[in-house]
């Protein structure tokens, strides 16, 4: 069992936090991770910035643009994280777009993740079928969990397929939208949360996109195993020093 699978066994709703590596400054990555763990985060998604993040709203786009200007890239990130497992125990996932991984070399990228102690990857623009055909064995070789997304428009049949090839959690995108903080979820989302719950999937689900406060977190985790907070946290570290990360958790 890897760290993600272990974590999913815990009897609690999991708080997962996304942040963009190299933002606000290039060297903040490690201390953000350490402070997040101290504050009680269950899983961390480390965003590898990309020039053209298709699935992201303005907050994460802007943090990515800034991180790239600061000099972040795959090599720098791996260098910054090389000793991360001497201080951090919770599951760490890298979330990034496929092209930078392709240029690094997919096998080399996976190998590096494994060396450092990264537990999984989220690659929004690597389609499920391409993963299944071309990269699954590579991920397994390096003990990496690949996390797939589903949305309110994903058919039951396709969700079952995704469930069948998942071995961590399913990233349940809350609504038809790019990333970005919302204040509340509506009836449509609630119906979707229920529909997924009724499918009785083997893979636990964690809801992401649009979670920004206690209310949205609780709505999202009525059935799901946890919630992922991205834009709201990126906004927080834009406006507060890293030492104040703990304050962000008063809601969770």
């Amino acid at each position: 069992m890897n760290r993600i699978q272990q974590k999913l066994q815990e009897n609690k709703k999991l708080v997962s936090i996304y942040f963009t590596a190299g933002y606000p400054t290039l060297t903040d990555t490690k201390s953000i991770i350490e402070n997040l763990e101290k504050a009680g985060t269950d899983i961390i998604e480390i965003g590898l910035p990309f020039s053209d993040p298709l699935a992201d709203g303005p907050t994460i786009q802007e943090s990515s643009t800034k991180a790239l200007k600061n000099g972040m890239n795959s090599e720098v990130l791996f260098e910054q994280l090389k000793d991360i497992r001497s201080t951090v125990n919770i599951p760490l996932i890298i979330m990034g777009y496929f092209n930078p991984m392709l240029q690094y070399g997919v096998e080399e990228f996976c190998k590096k993740c494994n060396e450092i102690g990264i537990d999984g990857l989220i690659i929004p623009d690597l389609p499920v079928d391409v993963y299944d055909e071309a990269y699954k064995s590579l991920f397994e070789k390096y003990n990496l969990t690949n996390i797939f997304l589903i949305t309110p428009q994903t058919s039951d049949e396709r969700i079952r397929y995704i469930d069948s090839i998942s071995n961590g959690f399913i990233y349940m995108v809350s609504s038809a939208s790019v990333t970005g903080a919302k204040n509340t979820f509506g009836e449509q989302q609630k119906a979707y949360f229920e529909r997924i719950n009724n499918l009785n999937l083997k893979t636990p689900q964690i809801v992401g996109f649009g979670i920004s406060n206690k209310e949205t977190f609780e709505q999202a985790t009525t059935y799901a195993k946890g919630g992922i907070i991205g834009s709201a946290f990126v906004k927080h570290i834009t406006n507060h020093p890293i030492g104040k990360i703990k304050d962000f958790f008063i809601f969770a």
Binding site: P53, G57, N99, Q103, D125, P127, A176, V178
Partner: protein, 393 residues
């Protein structure tokens, strides 16, 4: 060797649909239906009727006598510049608006660089009475004011893309994000043979009317359906795809794809994707694209906004890789001179994109009896400002 898309959406190793799951239902709906819809008799009838009565097709295949004399070969111009809205782009937007209607969509989004595709999209939306939103980089909005005004007159909403480099690739990102946010009622009319499968194939098929006509017209004028050379400029690659389409499997027809070298291939300010690009993923397609060593997409440069794209369609990446087409890079200066020359010799002011194709005449020797087709993809009205500044007119 096949130069057509395979079942999985690839041209050789290029193509596919590298899209976030949020886009999967939209793209899949299109993939499952596009061929079926295009083959319907009522679709074909409506499409060809509009191409004839609204666009003004067939566009002439014009024998350019003085240009031919100067270069001592037989040059024919395929006059896409005479289409309604001034370029080949409208062939695709007519096709896609009919597709959108049959898919039951009532909201259209598009991206545009120079504004040509935006105008062509706004035009067909006005024609059909469908809501139209065009994404355009903030920088391009400033440099292409007349086309912005045209789109507004046509009833489209022009939304500035303010992210990244604020040009065409960012406008495309914004259009894709809009589609993610509006997955049910919206169709995305992509302006070139780029994007996830089935877009490159669908757009190429709509544009293939160009080579279909060339064959018929050439048969009448030269008693052969096959020219020796077909020359077209390549931004994303749609006018070239249309001009090459019916010749792809005729290896005796030499295909010449002309990219924008900007200030020179090695100047750091260029859009010559086949030379400067590397295999990667842009806007949902595996293809050649200009990028940094660590996979960030870079900003191209060309004097012509329509060639200013950091990628190229997967069909063209395949034509390049297999050597089926010859790729030539033309600088800003060469293109501007060629545009002026065409104007003086034939009385035709070309779009600066198309001028790049004409500059090949100085770069390459053709035989006296060769039949050389140049796809004149658009007219130069939109570029008068640039011509005026460049030549101090």
């Amino acid at each position: 060797m096949s130069y057509h898309v395979d079942e999985k959406g690839y041209y050789g190793e290029f193509g596919g649909a590298y899209i976030p799951e949020m886009l999967y239902p939209n793209v899949e709906e299109l993939r499952q239906n596009y061929l079926k819809i295009m083959q319907e008799e009522s679709f074909q009838k409506e499409f060809h009727q509009l191409l004839k009565d609204y666009v003004g097709r067939p566009s002439p295949l014009y024998f350019a006598k003085r240009l031919s004399e100067k270069y001592n070969t037989k040059i024919y111009l395929k006059r896409e510049d005479l289409n309604h809205t001034g370029a080949h782009k409208v062939n695709n937007t007519i096709g896609q608006i009919l597709m959108a209607k049959r898919l039951g969509k009532n909201r259209i989004i598009a991206e545009t660089g120079a504004g040509q595709h935006g105008v062509a999209t706004a035009t067909v939306c006005a024609l059909m009475g469908i809501e139209c939103i065009v994404y355009m980089g903030e920088i391009d909005i400033a440099r292409q004011a007349p086309n912005v005004a045209r789109m507004k007159m046509l009833g489209a909403k022009v939304v500035p893309a303010t992210s990244g480099s604020k040009t065409l690739k960012d406008a495309t990102n914004e259009a894709i994000r809009d589609w993610i946010n509006n997955p049910v009622d919206t169709h995305y009319i992509i302006g070139s043979v780029v994007g996830p499968h089935p877009y490159p194939d669908m757009v190429a098929r709509f544009q293939s009317v160009v080579s279909e006509e060339i064959q018929k017209q050439l048969l009448e004028q030269e008693n052969t359906a096959f020219p020796n050379h077909v020359i077209a400029c390549v931004g994303g690659g749609s006018n070239a795809a249309g001009a090459f389409y019916h010749f792809l499997d005729e290896e005796k027809v030499n295909l010449i794809a002309v990219e924008a070298a900007g200030h020179g291939v090695d100047s750091g300010e260029s859009a010559a994707t086949s030379i400067l690009g590397k295999e990667g993923i842009i806007h949902g397609s595996k293809t050649l694209l200009m990028q940094t060593k660590d996979g960030q997409i870079t900003e191209p440069y060309s004097i012509s906004a329509g060639l200013d794209y950091p990628g190229v369609g997967p069909l063209h990446a395949h034509l390049f890789k297999t050597g089926r087409a010859e790729f030539i890079a033309i600088t800003d200066d060469q293109a501007m001179q060629a545009g002026l020359e065409l104007t003086k010799l034939e009385g035709i002011i070309p779009a600066i994109e198309s001028s790049h194709a004409f500059a090949v005449l100085k770069e390459k020797e053709f035989k006296k009896d060769d039949i050389v087709i140049i796809n004149l993809s658009g007219r130069g009205d939109k570029d008068l400002d640039t011509y005026i500044k460049y030549f101090n007119l």
